[in-house]
Symmetry: C2
Subunit: 93 residues, 2 copies
């Protein structure tokens, strides 16, 4: 089954599915500022657009463009700023 998920009043939407190696989502974020929490390790890969991200424990923001990725451990929070609609792949494993 493909799950449909909405967060932040529909400003972030994603579709959930399974691969041979774990669970994934593809999603889209509207322009905005977000704080996300993880329950498992996540690898985020930018598909189109870009995300400016403050990773757990970091004091600086870093910008990730299409094709670039970052990882977050389980049970962490991270902050994301998006200036235009941005698509991403999130792998949970």
């Amino acid at each position: 089954m493909i799950s449909t998920n909405e967060y932040f009043d529909g400003n972030v939407k994603s579709l959930g599915y399974k691969t041979s190696t774990g669970n994934s989502t593809v999603g889209v974020m509207e322009a905005g500022d977000y704080e996300f929490g993880t329950s498992t390790h996540e690898t985020m890969i930018i598909i189109e657009g870009e995300m400016t991200v403050k990773l757990p424990g970091d004091s600086v923001w870093a910008t990730y463009k299409a094709g670039e990725s970052f990882e977050i451990d389980a049970n962490e929070k991270f902050q994301v700023k998006v200036s235009a609609q941005t698509a991403y792949l999130c792998q949970y494993k």
Copy 2:
């Protein structure tokens, strides 16, 4: 706005958005056989999984894996076979 789209009784779902260069969707297909029609030129890029595709005018099927892409002109039909949940990016331009 991020649009949510469902086709083939929910076996194909996608999220629509805009980039600086045009309209895009990220989507997921369940295992199955599909025929799609285009109204504009489309570039399909496999994100995870794989698609076996018969392009307009082709008599043979070709398999596209993650990171690979194919293009279809406007007002064409193409056939897709998917053996496991597969995520894609479709750029309309």
